[in-house]
């Protein structure tokens, strides 16, 4: 099977430009990219049909090898119609985006942004438990009179030494973080899912 080199190079160029364009954020460029991709694919289908030949109208004197393969052309016709419909629809959407938002850019998903901004620190789950939460503090004294704790005290751990903990992007004083355990915290407005708005 011989392949038309010019067609092949054009097809490659169309694919390259198309892929470059659909990676842009501007909707019009994305649309142009999609159109280039569709046309490159049409050329690819044409190339699969083999050599150029006569129109496939039956004639007794013509050998079977001299006809062109009609099937790829039928496929191309169908795919042109489909890409025409999709292009028209995309243009409608782009116009609508322009009317609504006055910009030709893909907009970020609001929920995605919310999830992305939710800090890893969750006031409910991640705040250090204050050293003493028992209602009966006296029973919790060790034999040597020191406080028994399930959490590092200031003397034990370097992270607690500064009396602040890292919560997502900010530092919270340990006392405040502990206070967030309590309902009605002053310094954290709980967003949905317990994060910070």
């Amino acid at each position: 099977m011989s392949v038309n080199l010019t067609l092949l190079i054009v097809m490659g160029a169309l694919y390259a430009c198309g892929i470059y364009l659909i990676l842009e954020r501007s909707l019009t460029r994305v649309l142009l990219g999609l159109m280039l991709l569709a046309n490159a694919t049409n050329l690819l289908i044409l190339a699969t049909g083999g050599h150029a030949g006569l129109a496939p109208l039956y004639n007794k004197d013509t050998g079977a090898q001299e006809y062109a393969d009609p099937l790829p052309q039928a496929l191309i016709l169908t795919s042109i119609v489909i890409s025409f419909a999709v292009t028209a629809f995309m243009l409608g959407i782009i116009y609508r985006t322009w009317v609504l938002a006055r910009q030709d850019e893909i907009q970020d998903d609001i929920e995605d942004l919310r999830v992305a901004e939710t800090p890893r620190f969750d006031a409910e789950d991640d705040a250090p438990i204050p050293a003493e939460t028992s209602e009966f503090p006296l029973t919790m004294l060790g034999s040597d009179g020191s406080t028994v704790s399930d959490h590092a005290t200031a003397a034990d751990g370097p992270e607690a030494a500064g009396d602040s903990i890292t919560a997502g992007v900010r530092k919270i004083p340990a006392a405040d973080a502990a206070a967030e355990e309590q309902p009605g915290s002053q310094n954290v407005t709980p967003g949905p899912e317990g994060g910070v708005k």
């Binding site: 659909i22 289908i45 190339a47 496929l75 893909i106 709980p190 899912e193």
Partner: protein, 535 residues
């Protein structure tokens, strides 16, 4: 004259109905009657088709009398007819639901009149994809349903829908282009696009070419089926569409992708070359999807993530390429279409009754509307796979098949499947606890609808009346019908499992399909699969 020769009507009827509904665009009552009648008729026809192929009578219809492999062929076998019946049943339920919503809202949103024709075109595209016996016709089926879905997705043209629609359209077009490139390459390599013919001719290609074609088709279908890592687009785009549209998309569109993957794996490229990557993809789809679901507070988004996650189960069953695994996957597809659609329909009702679909704002719905709570509870437990529901049976089938296979990867998938099932339970239980069970005063930002306790709730009559206006009877009725259909999948799980096992056996055997299309004397390629692991 066989009933199977009427198979093309499953595509033609909805298209004709769409044309008629388009003509009746100014008469909404007649339009509704036409579209519901057409879909009911299609459903009846498809039930007859299923009955005629029940015992393995695979049939092929040549459109216009052009003989295969040149003409367009439509093939009805057990798998495709089962898919047709389930898809039409849920499309009908969603159509009735949408009609109820439209009537209740007084059709104020201008483009509602375009809904019915577009919806029927979508159904026609789905049927065409299920029936098509050649790759290019499958592509056309995909394009019909996708183009209709673009319109439905952006219905009304509001800001969020347009934004979501852009992502959806671009991703779908890219996957279609990939599919078309694969078709061109398949044609270049073999000179045919007829699937039965390809089943014979692809076996003669050399290993490298065949693997390339195989991977390209799987990637194209993987985008449509939302298999991780090609699933990112789904949770962004589905939740913004109108409730009935989301319901039908969630039920059908990804399953058409799964259907195409099943055909590719069984008919075109039998063997276990790509089973390992498919299994890894299935595991990641299950786990990543459900972890995404746990991070969501909006019920629609949460359900979209569970949708992605449960696609993993089907891919798992497919990747085992044993009769037991594939049979369980077929059963799971039928189960999941029904359950996921009914859950999205209930979510539409929740949004109507509670004023929001975010679990942060919902509370106390179990007291406000016990019926709604029941409608949510049954499919939710079904989705999570609580015995005795069909979700449990499907997962047991998959896990049995996985244990029978016995490779380390299969065991990893079995464990992943169990964990995903438990996490699904956690996700839906969170929705249940927050939206239905807790007191409205406990909600962080409760909707005023929930707090305004009807002062005469004890008199019953008044509360009952307000319930009716908030939840139209047609919407509740169609949701109830679909929930009952989901329950009946449990009741009739025996026959259904037998059918799906048979369907799996025929798909792996391939001879019935090839002989139905190409005639009795067609050379049947040697069985490339071990059919071991069957019952």
């Amino acid at each position: 004259m066989n009933i199977a020769s009427f198979a093309p009507l499953a595509v033609a009827l909805p298209i004709l109905g769409a044309a008629l509904a388009f003509l009746l665009i100014r008469h909404s009552r007649a339009q509704r009657a036409v579209s519901i009648a057409v879909l009911s008729l299609t459903l009846l026809l498809e039930c007859a088709l299923l009955a005629s192929v029940w015992d393995g009578g695979t049939a092929a219809v040549n459109i216009g009398g052009w003989l295969p492999p040149w003409g367009i062929t439509m093939v009805v076998d057990q798998f495709s007819s089962l898919m047709l019946v389930v898809s039409s049943a849920i499309s009908l339920a969603v159509l009735v639901y949408a009609t109820g919503q439209g009537m209740a809202d007084g059709d104020q949103d201008a483009p509602v009149s375009i809904f019915h024709p577009t919806y029927l075109i979508l159904v026609a595209g789905v049927s065409n994809a299920f029936l098509s016996g050649d790759l290019f016709n499958l592509y056309v089926g995909f394009e019909i349903l996708l183009t209709a879905s673009y319109v439905l997705m952006t219905l009304g043209g509001t800001g969020p829908r347009i934004r979501a629609g852009v992502t959806y359209v671009v991703v779908s077009v890219v996957s279609s282009v990939l599919f078309l490139i694969s078709i061109a390459m398949v044609y270049g390599a073999t000179g045919t696009v007829n699937m039965a013919d390809l089943a014979i001719k692809l076996a003669d290609l050399d290993e490298g070419t065949r693997t390339l074609l195989h991977v390209m088709l799987l990637v194209a279908f993987g985008i449509k089926a939302a298999v991780f890592p090609l699933s990112f687009w789904l949770p962004d785009s589905y939740p913004t569409a109108p409730a009935p549209v989301t319901a039908v998309f969630a039920g059908l569109l990804t399953k058409v992708g799964v259907y195409a993957m099943v055909r590719t794996e069984t008919l075109l490229f039998p063997g276990d070359r790509l089973n390992t990557p498919l299994m890894v993809a299935a595991l990641l789809t299950m786990v990543v999807g459900i972890l995404g679901a746990l991070a969501q507070s909006d019920i629609k988004r949460l359900l979209s993530f569970t949708l992605v996650s449960h696609i993993g189960y089907m891919v798992f069953g497919l990747a085992m390429s044993s009769v037991a695994g594939l049979g369980a996957a077929v059963f799971y597809v039928a189960h999941h279409i029904t359950i996921q659609t009914s859950l999205f329909m209930v979510t539409g009702l929740i949004e109507r009754r509670g004023g929001s679909s975010s679990v942060d704002r919902l509370a106390g719905l179990a007291k406000l509307s016990p019926m709604l709570a029941l409608l949510f509870f049954i499919p939710a437990m079904n989705l999570a796979g609580i015995p005795p529901f069909s979700g449990f049976l499907g997962k047991v089938g998959l896990i049995q098949a996985g244990v029978e296979l016995g490779t380390p990867l299969a065991y990893a998938l079995v464990i992943g499947g169990v964990i995903t099932s438990l996490l699904t339970l956690l996700a839906v239980a969170r929705v249940w606890n927050r939206a239905f069970w807790r007191k409205p005063s406990d909600a962080e930002h409760p909707d005023p609808v929930l707090l305004a306790e009807p002062e005469d709730s004890h008199t019953g009559s008044r509360a009952g009346r307000s319930n009716v206006t908030l939840l139209p009877r047609t919407m509740v009725g169609s949701t109830l019908g679909l929930v009952l259909l989901g329950v009946s999948l449990t009741v009739f799980a025996g026959p259904l499992f037998r059918l799906s096992d048979q369907a799996a056996h025929e798909m792996l055997d391939r001879s019935a399909y090839i002989q139905a299309v190409l005639g009795e004397d067609a050379p049947v390629p040697p069985l490339a699969l071990k059919t071991g692991g069957g019952k």
